[in-house]
């Protein structure tokens, strides 16, 4: 099992790096999809089955497809964006690396709290997720509907072509 974990982690990290460093946006999208799939694998390892399925459907199926649509639609694949200056890139790499190290150091000394509840193997199953979602978190659940409507309206409005523009 640990081997599976390491494999999935390696895939995730490798694809994440390729997302950042690949030239063409399409390549970045593909690698991001791979990363998400590996993360879904992680979810299954954690027995969060509901989340894994939702992750695949929503993220990989919807969001990434949306990305691909936009890239294809606007022919963004062909546009070449100049790279940042060397100084900026070095500064970026250094700060990113520093962030990584500092956060690691911050978590290293953190003491782990022993889990209070006894281990419940049914956490993560659809039934359990549904119970919690519709009982304890009903209000946020309904409000997300509102959130979606406003996002939709916003997206449509922003995407409209301006009639007066000549």
């Amino acid at each position: 099992m640990i081997f599976l974990f390491y494999l999935l982690s390696a895939v995730a990290i490798f694809s994440a790096l390729m997302v950042v460093f690949s030239r063409s946006p399409i390549n970045s999208v593909i690698f991001l999809i791979v990363c998400f799939l590996s993360l879904a694998g992680h979810y299954i390892l954690l027995n969060a089955q509901f989340l894994a399925i939702v992750h695949i459907i929503v993220y990989t199926g919807a969001i990434m497809v949306l990305f691909l649509f936009v890239i294809m639609l606007l022919n963004l694949n062909t546009s070449v964006v100049p790279r940042k200056s060397s100084l900026t890139r070095i500064a970026a790499v250094i700060s990113g690396g520093l962030l990584f190290l500092v956060m690691l150091a911050a978590f290293k000394d953190a003491a782990l709290v022993k889990p209070a509840n006894t281990f419940n193997p049914s956490i993560g199953l659809v039934r359990q997720a549904g119970m919690v979602l519709y009982k304890d978190f009903l209000l946020p659940f309904e409000i997300t509907a509102l959130l979606f409507i406003s996002a939709m309206v916003g997206a449509v409005l922003l995407g409209r072509k301006d009639r007066n523009q000549n």
Binding site: L73, V81, V132
Partner: protein, 109 residues
């Protein structure tokens, strides 16, 4: 089922923390390094997902379903955000005809 259950109890939490931190750092690096707005948006998604992973790991180890529900909501928000963000990118392409993020710099002193 039991195999998975035992697997969970085998992998220590620190591993997940380190993995999550790594993914987050890579996402931050991407945001800083790249000039293409779409890539930046994707790196933001990467950062969000690293947090999702961490939350799920904690939820599994503490047998608290609230963590996974929280992840669910994060996904919701991420979806909405991507929708709006992409329409912004479309507008940007229409107005300045490029995806260079340094071109939009009028919000200054």
């Amino acid at each position: 089922m039991e195999k998975i259950t035992t697997a969970i109890q085998l992998i220590p939490l620190q591993h997940y923390i380190v993995l999550s931190i790594t993914l987050f750092a890579i996402g931050a690096l991407g945001v800083l390094l790249r000039r293409n707005t779409i890539i930046i948006l994707m790196c933001i998604e990467l950062m969000l997902n690293s947090v999702n992973l961490l939350l799920t790991a904690f939820s599994a180890y503490h047998s608290d379903p609230a963590g996974q529900v929280f992840v669910f909501f994060i996904m919701v928000v991420a979806a909405a955000e991507v929708a709006v963000g992409l329409s912004l990118i479309v507008m940007m392409k229409r107005n300045v005809d490029s995806l260079d993020i340094n071109l939009l710099s009028r919000l200054k002193w």
